[in-house]
Symmetry: C2
Subunit: 217 residues, 2 copies
């Protein structure tokens, strides 16, 4: 019985990593839809989100049955509770990708992001996607060093948000209110995806070490 239990506990992290890869695809596709104005790619992100939701439910069911049938203590308990939270955050990252895809879809056949602010928005999307990719590795390898490094990647996202606001509030801005509002909200969505990646990385640190990481200065 104990063997099956250990396997189930390990498999939860495998399931989380698999969901994380789906989220990574959703972020990448949402960005593609956004930058190209491709409605069918946007639709894919929106319609495939239900699969992330379903995978989350499975992890919750597994975690719940482990809690109730095995009555784990200490490290195992910490792992299962952390898994429940991580899967909630992954689902939320999927939702945020859907928000990005919906902005893209709303502007088809146009592209929501004007030419001259594309470098900043593309970089923001790339940083978010990279952070998701890295947190998938953190999950599957329970890699504390990589998790700590991820907290620092968040600084570039903060800087990009400031740059983005400066661009759309400059006197040279000629794309009106609608594009500015799109950019501000898109920036917010990518920033939240990055925040969740950092938060998940911190939960992995807690699972492995038993301690919460010190907050970044």
């Amino acid at each position: 019985m104990r063997d099956v239990y250990s396997e189930q506990l390990d498999s939860i992290f495998g399931d989380l990593a698999a969901i994380c890869r789906r989220v990574q695809t959703a972020v990448a596709q949402a960005t593609l839809a956004l930058m190209t104005g491709d409605a069918s790619v946007a639709e894919q992100v929106i319609s495939q989100d239900v699969e992330i939701d379903r995978a989350r439910e499975q992890v919750e069911d597994t975690a719940f049955s482990l809690l109730s049938l095995q009555q784990p203590v200490a490290g195992d308990l910490r792992t299962i509770v952390a898994a429940l939270r991580m899967v909630g955050e992954l689902e939320r990252m999927g939702d945020l990708s859907v928000h990005v895809a919906k902005v893209a879809r709303l502007r088809v056949p146009d592209v929501a992001v004007p030419e001259e602010v594309r470098p900043t928005m593309s970089r923001m999307a790339a940083v978010a996607e990279d952070m998701v990719s890295r947190v998938c590795d953190v999950i599957s390898g329970r890699d504390v060093e990589a998790a700590i490094a991820l907290g620092r990647a968040d600084e570039e996202m903060d800087q990009l948000r400031r740059t983005s606001f400066a661009e759309l509030l400059s006197d040279d801005w000629q794309h009106g209110v609608e594009a500015a509002v799109d950019i501000a909200l898109l920036g917010r969505y990518y920033e939240r995806i990055a925040d969740h990646a950092v938060s998940i990385a911190n939960r992995v640190i807690f699972v492995v070490t038993g301690h919460n990481p010190a907050p970044a200065a």
Copy 2:
């Protein structure tokens, strides 16, 4: 031993309701700061958020020790796991109030919300605050009927968001990009506060009935 356990389980819901009341105050004060441009009220919301964070940690510690020492099953287990999630959502609602307060502070001595869009923004803030107030009652009374009703209040928020976008994208908009971006982000913060209130109400339904409510049509 069992008596202390039952008391602790009940006290978790009392703690959650108390945190919820703090969140309600934070939402109300953030709105006051926003509508009056009062920097000191904004500062209060920002500085007091740490108390919500601390109260969350206490609930987490209690929940964790109940899980590990009492090894609850079935309904009790469901309650504790739900409490862990609810407290995470309450903390997030506190963070969103801080975001509102920070927009207010950034525009002092001006007021971020132009005169003619105040009715919509005020109503959005009022709906959010009312939903928080109602979810506090749902938590303390474990009131399923009230929880179900809360899901429907969310519809007004969706409608208000649409009205708000129509206002700032209309040809009559004369307040420039900065105010429009503020309004769009503020709307998003209030909308998310409302979303979390509905989500917490749904968790209470799950705790009491053992079933997740059907999603709203």
